[in-house]
């Protein structure tokens, strides 16, 4: 509140003429009577001063107002920039969230696609395998069945023809056989009768012949006596005796003939119950005998014919049996043919079904295309597997890039948080500036009011001097404050500008960093591709078998398998050949009995071959024996060395457990053992050695050692070494 009559002020001692037009208020003297006189002069001066002060104040006010307006406008611009920055931040954040969501969705989609692809690939693989397997089986079956069918058809046709022919023959043969059998039976009966008759007749003739022979003998004896008498008479009378001699000679000749015929008859009789011809009825008898002989010969021939016919009948019977057997076989084959036809129908149906299925398969026109299609499908599967592998690798790369992007996002978020903090700080600053502005405006309003009051006071000039002085002082102080505020505002503005510049620069840095990271990611991707191609190249080289000869050498085990196998195979082949040649030899020997010439040739050939084969067998057997001896030598050397070095005789043999797993059993006996019962048994199976319990190991000392060394310390060599030392000590002490 401005006083109307301000108190008097003392003059300042060091006051100088003020360059900025400040008025110095002179001190009024203390004398009161002169106060009114000076009051008017002072009033004039103060009015001018006041005017000047007012003008200056107004100028200062206007400048302050301008400054305030400028700061307001700057504040507004800062606010706009802040809002823009906030909007941009929100936009970036939204973009970030959106990209995150897209990434997550893409990941999920990719995983789902991958799983689906894998499932489809597995399913298609299994289906393909099954189909290939079934196709191959079916093809084989089909071929077999076709071949069988053809064979069966041909055999059935031929069997049918044969059967029909054989049936005809059979019927014919059976008819003829029946006829012949009946005829033969009749003939047999007749012959039997005739033979009986002839036998009786012959026996009668024989008796008769015997009687005749006896008579003939008696007569011959008589004749001999007569002859002798006649000879005697001859000696006496030769001439008249000649006819008698001739008769005698004739008789002798006849006798001789009779004797011959008798012998012949005897011979014949020995085959037909011997006959003797009497000398007197010789010719008739002879004729009769000849006739009989002829009859007998004819009978014999007939009998032979009968015999041959019997044999023929037997042969025919056998043929009949064979034909019956063939008939049965053909009937069974006919049944089989019907079964085969059924199977063929089934196969045809299956074939048609497969053909229909083939039509469903794209790119397949005929069965030959199926393997090609399978091969192409397999290739596709392999390619898809490769692609899947590549996709996996790319996925991994994308994951890595995702991780990097997440890191970048986190960094961006942190930076955004920092920017938020800064924005909040700037907000606070702006609020502070606003408050300051509001205070400034209040001051301004206050000053305006003061000015108005001053104006009012100007109109009321009385007692205004002191009030004007106070008001001036207040105005000056307020001006100083305002200037101070303005300076503060300016400094804040500068700080804000700096902050904005810093934020701009940081944003630029971040964007540069982002670009660099993107470039780095691309370069990393390129490097990854290059490395993958290198890896595939190296793997191909590895798979191919390449190696560096400076650091590696390739060794191969001497394959005794092949040699042994070859020897065994040659031995087996030679043995089979030997058997075959033996069989051939037997057949040839049988043939030899029939024809000697052919046998000699075959004999020589077979003997030469057998000699060769025997030589080969001998060499192979020698080789095998040599291998065995060499191996036995080496093994015995090794065993002896093991025994002498480790102190145990080792016996190895193979066993098979109840579950079928083959195991090797080792029986160890120490050379310092005091009895034969001191034996250790171990079982070796696929790299694992275990001790077997027996009487020796169940002894308390040994079982204790087994417990310690084998069960606890898991060391068999330590156990055996300890046992060796103990048994050596026992031996040496004893």
């Amino acid at each position: 509140m401005i006083l109307r009559t301000p108190p008097p002020r003392k003059r300042r001692a060091d006051s100088s003429p003020n360059p900025d037009r400040r008025l110095v208020i002179y001190e009024d003297p203390p004398a009161e009577p002169e106060q009114s006189h000076h009051h008017s002069e002072q009033m004039i001066c103060t009015y001018q001063c006041r005017q000047m002060v007012k003008s200056e104040f107004l100028d200062a006010l206007s400048s302050a107002e301008k400054q305030a307006h400028d700061s307001e406008s700057k504040l507004a611009s800062l606010r706009d920039e802040l809002s823009k920055a906030e909007a941009e931040r929100k936009k970036f954040r939204d973009q970030c969230f959106y990209t995150e969501q897209e990434l997550a969705a893409a990941k999920g989609r990719e995983q789902a696609l991958q799983e689906q692809l894998l499932k489809e690939v597995n399913n298609s693989q299994q289906r393909l395998k099954k189909q290939i397997h079934s196709y191959s089986e079916l093809e084989v079956k089909l071929q077999n069945e076709m071949n069988l069918r053809k064979k069966a058809e041909s055999s059935a046709a031929s069997a049918e023809e044969k059967a029909s022919l054989l049936e005809g023959k059979l019927s014919h043969v059976s008819e003829t056989r029946e006829k012949e059998t009946s005829r033969l039976q009749n003939e047999l009966v007749q012959l039997k009768r005739e033979s009986k008759f002839s036998v009786t007749r012959i026996s009668a003739d024989l008796e008769r012949m015997e009687c005749k022979a006896k008579n003939a003998e008696e007569e011959s004896a008589l004749l001999k006596e007569q002859l002798e008498e006649l000879r005697k008479q001859l000696n006496k009378v030769t001439a008249p005796i000649l006819p008698h001699v001739t008769i005698v000679f004739d008789l002798i000749i006849l006798l001789h003939q009779c004797l011959k015929e008798k012998n012949e008859a005897e011979r014949k009789l020995s085959s037909f119950a011997t006959q003797e011809l009497p000398p007197t009825e010789t010719n008739i008898l002879l004729k009769h005998l000849q006739e009989e002989l002829r009859n007998y010969e004819s009978e014999v021939r007939e009998a032979q014919k009968l015999k041959s016919s019997h044999e023929n009948t037997e042969l025919l019977k056998e043929k009949l049996l064979e034909e019956k057997g063939r008939r049965e076989r053909t009937e069974s084959e006919l049944l089989k043919v019907s079964e085969i036809q059924l199977t063929a129908k089934k196969l045809e149906d299956e074939l048609s079904a497969w053909k229909l299925m083939m039509k469903d398969i794209p790119g397949v026109a005929c069965p030959d295309d199926i393997p090609l299609k399978f091969a192409s499908l397999q290739k596709e599967v392999l390619e898809s597997m490769l692609k899947v592998g590549e996709a996996n690798s790319r996925l991994k790369q994308i994951e890595i890039a995702l991780d990097a992007a997440e890191l970048g996002k986190r960094n961006a978020v942190s930076e955004a948080a920092l920017a938020n903090e800064k924005a909040e700080l700037s907000k606070l600053e702006t609020r502070r500036i606003e408050l300051m502005l509001s205070s400034v405006t209040e001051e301004r309003d206050r000053l305006k009011n003061a000015v108005d009051e001053l104006r009012k006071i100007r109109n009321v000039e009385a007692g205004g001097e002191i009030v004007g002085g106070n008001v001036l002082q207040e105005l000056e102080s307020s001006l100083a404050k305002k200037e101070y505020h303005i300076k503060e505002l300016e400094s804040n503005l500068c700080e804000q500008k700096e902050v904005n510049n810093r934020q701009h620069s940081e944003r630029k840095l971040l964007s540069e960093r982002l670009n660099n990271e993107a470039k780095r990611i691309k370069s990393l991707e390129r490097e990854g591709d290059r490395l993958r191609s290198e890896i595939s190249l190296l793997e191909s080289k590895l798979g191919h078998g390449d190696y560096s000869s400076s650091s590696t050498k390739v060794l191969r085990m001497v394959n005794t398998l092949a040699v042994d196998n070859e020897a065994k195979q040659t031995i087996e082949a030679l043995q089979t050949e030997l058997q075959k040649t033996r069989e051939k030899l037997q057949a040839v020997e049988e043939l030899k009995k029939q024809s000697a010439d052919a046998g000699t040739l075959v004999d020589s050939y077979i003997s030469g071959k057998t000699v060769q084969l025997k030589e080969q067998i001998a060499t192979l057997e020698k080789r095998e024996a040599r291998y065995k001896t060499v191996f036995a030598d080496r093994i015995s050397v090794f065993r002896r060395a093991c025994c002498e070095l480790f102190g145990y005789k080792i016996v190895m043999d193979d066993h098979q457990r109840s579950d079928g797993i083959p195991v090797t059993r080792f029986t160890l006996q120490s050379i310092y053992a005091q009895s034969d019962d001191e034996k250790l048994q171990f079982e070796y199976e696929s790299g694992n050695t275990s001790i077997l319990a027996n009487d020796y190991t169940s002894q308390p000392e040994i079982s204790h050692q087994v417990e310690i060394f084998i069960r606890k310390l898991n060391s068999i060599p330590a156990f055996t070494a300890n046992l060796t030392v103990e048994s050596f000590n026992k031996r040496t002490l004893s």
């Binding site: 590895l542 798979g543 190696y547 400076s550 050498k553 001497v558 005794t560 079928g660």
Partner: protein, 207 residues
């Protein structure tokens, strides 16, 4: 060799060498059965790695594989073995049809200092089981071996290894322009074994 701890088992160099050589023995048997190098009736079923596997009963082949695995164990314990390759060749023409490649990476620190590693036995068995299953399923994509075949085993060792008397130096028996399929691998933390099969391009594929 291996003793049980709470969750992992201690693996020593010797134990790891035994595991790897045993694996190779069973893998070789499985390959010979699946590729039909020897007739089916010469194999008998056994249980190993939780799977029914087939082992040859032919004395000659058994002895061959036993000697082979013994030598591989020795080389593995000394850290000198780099690779083992099982080669299948045409008996008549000696042309290489397939190469089953088992690459081995050895931890040098274990060989030099004799330290041990920790890994669960079950985990190793699971890994080996996966490889055995893949060998069994390889017949679906490997070409058929119609002609009679024989097999041989090559060992890639360090240059300074002394050659045993039953082994000789050999060529690597490579296949020209092979097809390759990489199988799973297993790791005992001392030896890492990678499996790969390379085979001759089939005529059908070339068409």
């Amino acid at each position: 060799m291996a003793s049980r701890t709470a969750t992992k088992d201690i693996i020593t160099l010797r134990g790891s060498a035994a595991i790897v050589s045993e694996f190779f023995g069973y893998a070789a048997n499985s390959i010979l059965y699946n590729r039909g190098v020897y007739p089916e009736e010469t194999f008998a079923k056994v249980k190993k790695y939780g799977l029914p596997l087939l082992l040859t009963q032919d004395d000659g082949v058994k002895a061959f594989i036993a000697n082979l695995t013994a030598q591989l164990t020795e080389w593995l314990e000394s850290g000198k073995l780099q690779r083992v390759v099982l080669v299948i060749m045409n008996k008549a023409t000696s042309e290489v049809q397939e190469r089953w490649n088992f690459s081995i990476e050895t931890d040098g620190e274990v060989v030099e200092k004799g330290v041990s590693r920790e890994k669960s036995d079950k985990e190793i068995m699971r890994e080996i089981q996966a490889i055995m299953r893949q060998i069994a399923s390889s017949i679906t994509y490997l070409p058929c071996l119609d002609e009679p075949c024989v097999f041989d085993v090559l060992a890639y060792t360090d240059k300074d290894v002394a050659v045993p008397f039953t082994w000789i130096e050999s060529d690597p028996k490579l296949i020209a322009n092979p097809q390759m399929v990489k199988l799973h691998s297993f790791d005992t933390k001392i030896h890492k074994v990678d499996t790969l099969v390379s085979y001759k391009n089939d005529e059908w594929d070339e068409q």
